[in-house]
């Protein structure tokens, strides 16, 4: 009995190891195939006529919840499809979709900003939602409008006291996102128009939840949050006199916003295409997207390309 136990354990281990090896080969094969032909890496069993197969969507944590919700609804309708949604950050999502490890790469920035031009050109962009951000301050701060120049002065450390921008005499505490964050990239690009350094004494936090908590607690704090995070614990400030509302974003009057992207390698087919179509359908755009605090892409009266140029 004992002997058989040991033998079977050995066999199991050997099989596991073999499976690991196989997996690696597959991934490598997929990646090289994708690189050569530029075709999307679908599972081979998938056919275009009926919806089945598994989809792996990975990347940005900012839209993870939205994609998860939509995926759940999609799977309820099409039982043959299984969709797995993972976080990991925009960089991870773009890398994995570009290397063929994932079917969909979720990203806050355009792929051109994170990957080199050749790799980014292989990816097809699907803009599923718009996220707008507002500069927020601790509720005790009396300032309620900041110009672009004032924000630049604050985030580059030229101004360190609220009295210099029309507030009370109190130290400014910057609560930032890490330099690699997509939210920070959007804020710097469209609110400040320049990149900033992490200043001595500034706080960098990983998640919007923590930023909100620290802004609401720390005297004299300033940070920035997506509109979906705003409530009465923090105070949003106007940007150049324009309030951060959905309508102002849609008309292009308020500039601090960005697309949420779902990238595929090459044009999507089969279940991936069906899922992305579903993401852009009214059923998701007018329900989940709005519910989670995003703005549907269909509502936007202006468009923006990877270089940041606005068109009506």
């Amino acid at each position: 009995m004992k002997k058989w136990l040991i033998l079977s354990l050995t066999l199991m281990l050997a099989l596991t190891l073999a499976a690991c090896g196989n997996n690696n080969n597959n991934t490598a094969g997929n990646a090289s195939n994708g690189g050569a032909s530029g075709s999307p890496s679908e599972s081979p069993s998938e056919s275009a006529s009926e919806l089945s197969g598994s989809i792996l969507a990975t990347g940005s944590t900012a839209i993870q919840k939205l994609v998860e919700q939509a995926a759940q609804k999609f799977m309820d309708k099409h039982s043959g499809v299984s969709i797995q949604v993972q976080g990991g950050g925009s960089g991870t999502g773009l890398t994995q979709v570009s290397e063929g490890q994932a079917d969909i790469g979720n990203s806050d920035p355009f792929a051109e900003e994170k990957l080199d031009a050749a790799k980014a050109a292989e990816l097809v962009d699907h803009q599923v939602a718009v996220v707008a951000m507002a500069a927020v301050v601790n509720p005790d701060v009396t300032v309620d409008n900041l110009t672009k120049q004032q924000l630049i002065d604050i985030f580059t450390g030229k101004v360190t006291n609220w009295k210099d921008v029309g507030g009370a005499d109190a130290r400014i505490q910057i609560i930032n996102r890490p330099a690699s964050s997509g939210t920070r990239a959007t804020f710097e690009k469209f609110a400040l128009g320049q990149k900033t350094e992490d200043l001595q004494g500034s706080i960098q936090e990983d998640s919007s939840g923590t930023v909100k908590k620290l802004v609401s607690e720390t005297p004299g704090a300033i940070g920035y949050l997506a509109l979906s995070y705003l409530d009465d614990k923090v105070k949003p400030v106007k940007y150049e006199g324009v309030e951060a509302t959905e309508d102002n974003v849609a008309t292009g009057a308020y500039p601090i916003w960005a697309y949420e992207h779902m990238y595929t390698k090459g044009e999507p087919t089969g279940a991936v295409k069906a899922f992305l179509d579903y993401m852009l359908s009214d059923e998701v755009q007018h329900a989940d997207v709005v519910e989670l605090g995003y703005i549907p892409t269909g509502k936007m009266q202006v468009k923006r390309d990877a270089q940041g140029n606005l068109t009506k």
């Binding site: 040991i6 890398t95 690699s180 964050s181 990983d206």
Partner: protein, 300 residues
């Protein structure tokens, strides 16, 4: 031939032995392959910052400016190295006396109550997930420091307090084991010479168990050095050497976890983060080496 066949047939435990040997060998090989491939992976990624991207090793180790996303990227990791060492050593300074005294209480002063009730409670601390420590730190310790001391509350002090609680079980458990393993004759001899309990503990117990205590402390520092999540939540993550214990700074681990997911594989920023991981791994090796040396000393 026939004879040897008979012998094999007669002794099935030989095959059993062979299977057992082969199986355990496969297990150890699996471990060795896992460890060496991880070392290789981190090293190859971490070294490519210097070999492929041409960053100077000296600049990385001694530079004060970390700005990897700028037009001219700067990779000065000294603030992270400073942050890692200062938080973990400060944590050990807070936790070591606490751990030793708790161990003395559990072994020498109230052995029954101590070992039966106190030890499980302290060991329970080791099972709490680090995100819970981080959140408690952010919700309790940071506001307390912010209101009590000048500064932001966030910083090395908050990180060290959180880490001290996290490494307390390690230090206490090892100290308790060391005290319990002390030969009874040593203490009895001391009492027989007329020493008080305090004299016995401070002159006999502490010096003789010191190498084992040090092992516990170094293990604690190693754990604190590698802790990422809880520290990241309370330290503020500014890549600068702070002016006070209550100003935002950063550690090696927090710098890695903060940015790793948002950078794409193969970019300079990503490689630089792997270099930080390499430094972290080398430091862990140093800690293991120190622990080995201390263990050898404590056996004498």
């Amino acid at each position: 031939m026939a004879k040897s066949y008979d012998r094999l047939e007669g002794k099935p435990h030989l095959t059993e032995e062979w299977v057992g040997k082969a199986y355990t060998f496969v297990c150890i090989m699996f471990l060795v392959i896992t460890i060496s491939s991880m070392v290789y992976f981190v090293a190859s990624k971490g070294l490519s910052t210097f070999l492929v991207n041409g960053v100077n090793v000296g600049d990385l180790l001694t530079g004060l400016k970390w700005n990897p996303e700028a037009d001219i990227p700067l990779f000065g990791a000294l603030p992270f190295i400073f942050g890692s060492f200062s938080t973990s050593i400060l944590a050990a300074i807070i936790a070591a006396p606490l751990g030793f005294c708790a161990a003395v209480f559990m072994v020498e002063i109230a052995p029954k109550f101590g070992r039966k009730y106190m030890q499980p409670v302290i060991e329970l601390l080791a099972g709490i997930p680090s995100v819970v420590y981080g959140f408690v730190g952010l919700s309790v310790i940071v506001p307390f420091f912010r209101d009590t001391f000048p500064g932001q509350g966030i910083g090395i002090a908050a990180g060290a307090v959180v880490l001290a609680v996290m490494i307390l079980p390690t230090i206490t458990t090892i100290a308790t084991d060391a005290l319990a393993a002390l030969p009874a004759g040593l203490k009895e001899g001391s009492y027989a010479l007329g020493s008080t309990r305090y004299q016995t503990i401070s002159r006999i117990v502490l010096p003789t168990t010191l190498p084992a205590q040090m092992t516990g402390i170094v293990l604690g520092i190693a754990r604190a050095f590698g802790e990422a999540l809880a520290v990241q939540m309370v330290i503020g993550n500014a890549p600068h050497i702070p002016h006070s214990l209550f100003e935002s700074t950063s550690t090696l681990t927090s710098a890695i976890t903060l940015s790793m997911g948002n950078t794409s594989m193969g970019s300079v920023h990503n490689n630089a983060l792997w270099s930080l991981a390499l430094i972290l791994m080398l430091m862990t090796f140093v800690f293991v080496f120190i622990i080995r040396m201390l263990e050898r000393r404590s056996k004498l």
